[in-house]
Symmetry: C2
Subunit: 344 residues, 2 copies
């Protein structure tokens, strides 16, 4: 079947890596791409990150492939809260899945760690929590203050925790729930309670609760003890960057913003950002976005095509010539993708 | 001069490592110790983590040396919010300083990193921010929710940022401010603004602002680029555990809760917790708490004694016989401290 995908290349290296991901997907699946040039650039021209009916334009698609948004000069809270966050929320993409895996030819910054030690999946709550609209500023001068209210609902926590347990059961992995209940005393003990309730339904899945600070240390000291890590929006954000770092860097870390009930399109976007510092040089690593596109194909039921891409990446990266500078090679973005296509 | 110190050994390994820190301090300085047995154990007996006039009992002392509190069965939000957090706040210990440094004989979990690469000081806001009392729960069943409001004041942010710049200037280090302004859109951009205002007063100190997620990755990928990291209560908590991990673990990471204006006693407590899993076995690493005691002596003006302890630790650890199991050795808590005292 032909899949209809909305593409938002966005800014910086988002544009560069997304172009390569499209080429790779075209080599294995039948996709009709519709491109939307919503970005910080279009914001500077139009004053909007996307048109007023942007969400309605996206809704009919089978999925969304997003490059990255963000550009020096456009405050992040405009670029992200005018595009990325509204899409995640309006389309109820309440799970952000971020798997990491040490690929062949990629070195972990950790000493003596093998590929077996470095396989984790961060399941991040993606619709509520610390990323809230509730808050503001008050007062003047020395007496000015800013307030922000994190909002956790039972419904919201339960569904993401349940997703994590289902995934862990299917992949035969343990679940670790990361909170900070000794410091954040209202919302985090609530998360813990909901986690314990859901865990009762999955007694076959080994599970534990840990403090997020200790878990950050453990990702570095003992990553082999981790499988699925489930965490709030903010902790999932930090821990997924960290897990990507220990498994070889942001250049190879994919992500999926999922609406598991499929009541609206899911969105696929690598963990890395628009990286203005290296944008336009043709040296960005396309692997993260190509793996992200493979997650998209898997979500669309094209399991074989997804696996084929993953395997092609592993084969291609075994050759130093396919590695971009972040992996110690000198391949260009396009050259790296060419090698992956050749390996397909 | 004789210093009057309040000691709260607390729970678990807190008791064990504090006993050793006291022995080491006694070898180099004139201190009168007054011990308070406030702990989770006393909570189970009395229903209180400390007496009603606990803070008034502590106030006359020159400083407080705290082991750790926390015990399975006593919820953290009772043990910590009944003792640690009230002391930090009532005594206006608004800076939590957490330096890390790779010691001789200690291996970093990072590949190819030397002691020069691994020297960072996390300056954590310690009085407000995400650790707030403001919040609660509402609703029933599926509709239950928990809310928690982070509170940042200009006064609160300014003073800790200024502390970070002073420290950086004195130590000739760059400052990196960690926020998450693209996700936490009310409080974090406020922190950024205050940071930029203060930075103008320190144009001789190199400074930058980074996203906390990217910074977590950078601590693993490029720790040598970091000097002083200043962050909110929550981010400082996570980043200090992480910086300790990359520099060889929590067993050697000291911390100081400082009231820089000295209007009340400061409190000294290693980064690690009460570690119930290894408590009572005599294998906890005392180095973190001994280094913490050295920070206390430094704060009390006993700079020479503080330096002597640091040097003794470096000399002692060069011998594998002084290293506890977390450092790959087989020394006991007491044996490790004995070696440090012998090296003095
Ligand atoms: C025990 C806990 C409340 C505490 C904190 O988060 O402040 C601890 O993790 C620390 O870092 O001192
Ligand atoms: C850009 C930013 C808002 C975003 C987030 O924090 O969600 C990014 O860091 C991510 O991880 O997808």
């Amino acid at each position: 079947t032909r899949h209809r995908i909305a593409v938002i290349p966005g800014d910086g290296i988002g544009v560069e890596v997304t172009a390569e991901a499209i080429r790779v997907v075209d080599a294995v699946a039948d996709v009709e791409w519709t491109s939307f040039d919503w970005s910080c650039q279009s914001y500077l021209d139009t004053g909007k990150m996307m048109p007023d009916d942007g969400l309605e334009q996206l809704r009919p698609f089978d999925a969304i492939l997003l490059g990255a948004v963000g550009y020096p000069g456009v405050p992040d809270h405009i670029s992200l809260w005018g595009l990325l966050i509204p899409i995640r929320r309006a389309f109820d993409q309440y799970v952000n899945v971020r798997p990491v895996k040490l690929l062949p030819g990629v070195q972990s910054p950790l000493r003596d760690r093998t590929a077996e030690d470095l396989q984790m999946i961060v399941v991040r709550e993606n619709s509520e929590g610390e990323y809230s609209n509730v808050g503001g500023r008050q007062g003047l001068g020395d007496y000015e203050m800013a307030l922000q209210t994190a909002v956790f609902t039972r419904h919201g926590v339960e569904r993401v925790v349940r997703y994590a347990f289902e995934l862990a059961r299917q992949q035969n992995l343990p679940v670790c729930s990361a909170t900070k209940s000794n410091g954040i005393v209202h919302t985090m003990p609530f998360w813990d309670e909901v986690f314990q309730d859901v865990a009762k339904e999955y007694e076959d899945v080994p599970s534990e609760q840990c403090l997020a600070d200790a878990l950050a240390a453990r990702m570095v000291m003992a990553p082999q003890t981790l499988g699925v890590v489930v965490a709030s929006n903010l902790f999932g954000d930090l821990l997924s960057d960290l897990s990507a770092a220990v498994a070889g860097g942001l250049g190879i870390a994919p992500a999926a913003n999922l609406n598991p009930q499929r009541t609206a399109p899911s969105m696929f976007e690598a963990v890395h950002g628009s990286a203005p510092d290296i944008a336009g040089k043709g040296i960005a690593n396309p692997v993260a976005q190509i793996l992200t596109a493979a997650m998209m194909l898997d979500h669309l039921g094209e399991t074989q095509a997804a696996v084929a891409i993953e395997q092609a990446i592993e084969r291609a990266l075994a050759d130093p010539g396919a590695r971009t500078p972040d992996l110690g090679g000198s391949a260009t973005t396009r050259g790296s993708a060419d090698a992956i296509i050749a390996a397909l």
